[in-house]
């Protein structure tokens, strides 16, 4: 069964900490995405990547960075966590231009910054 795996389901971090959220997909997908999801605001795109070493800012990149050193892994980094980054974080991947444009999502990481 193909999947997108996020390393943690729940995380609690302190303000100012550097936080790494890891995402791995086993589908050989080209594209990977990081979203945050907050009540009533839907899915908001943070960063995305169409290829290894490539990254593009989404709609809300401030306070975040990403790394894609290998095709299967896309990491989201909170350089200095703040309480307003408490949220559900969702990673997704897609094949891109192979005729299937749907995204496969991970189970999410619920991050609490205290």
């Amino acid at each position: 069964d193909v999947k997108v795996t996020q390393s943690s389901r729940y995380l609690v971090k302190r303000t100012g900490e550097k936080v790494f959220l890891e995402c791995v997909q086993d589908m050989d997908h080209e594209n990977m995405f990081w979203y945050r999801q907050d009540p009533g605001l839907g899915l908001r795109l943070i960063y995305f990547s169409y290829d290894v070493k490539m990254k593009e800012k989404g709609d809300i990149p401030e306070g975040y960075s990403v790394s894609r050193e290998k095709k299967e892994r896309f990491s989201l980094i909170l350089e200095s966590a703040s309480t307003n980054q408490t949220s559900m974080y969702l990673c997704a991947s897609s094949p891109g231009s192979r005729g299937n444009y749907g995204y496969t999502f991970g189970s999410g990481t619920r991050l609490t910054v205290v």
Binding site: G42, L43, Y101, F105
Partner: protein, 114 residues
């Protein structure tokens, strides 16, 4: 339907009834549409998709209808079951020409009463 406010639209139906969830999409150039289901504490899961050259597509207990004239998408769930309780998102993308990313609606929460 979809909402830009802080409160998620909610649809409450009796078990066994049919459900209709609506979505107004934003881009008249979008030519591929997806419905996702997100259960509590989980990532969104693909339900069904439809391309703009179709008006209707049926899956198992689900039907998606597309009205391009008014930019409207609907998801019909037949014989709704308690396991259908979730938040449902529509998503759109323009796959022809320069491909962008999926654009997600805010979601509708479906509650099924036993």
């Amino acid at each position: 339907g979809e909402s830009v406010g802080l409160h998620l639209p909610t649809l409450s139906v009796q078990e066994g009834d049919n459900s209709i969830i609506n979505c107004a999409y934003s881009n008249s150039a979008s030519d591929y549409f997806i419905w996702y289901k997100q259960e509590s504490g989980k990532g969104p899961q693909f339900i069904i998709d439809i391309r703009s050259n179709m008006d209707k597509r049926q899956g198992q207990r689900v039907t998606v209808l597309l009205n391009k004239t008014v930019k409207h998408l609907s998801l019909q769930i037949a014989a709704t079951q308690p396991g259908d309780s979730a938040v449902y998102f529509c998503a759109e993308i323009r796959v022809g020409g320069s491909q962008g990313n999926l654009i997600f609606g805010k979601g509708t929460k479906l509650s099924v009463k036993p």
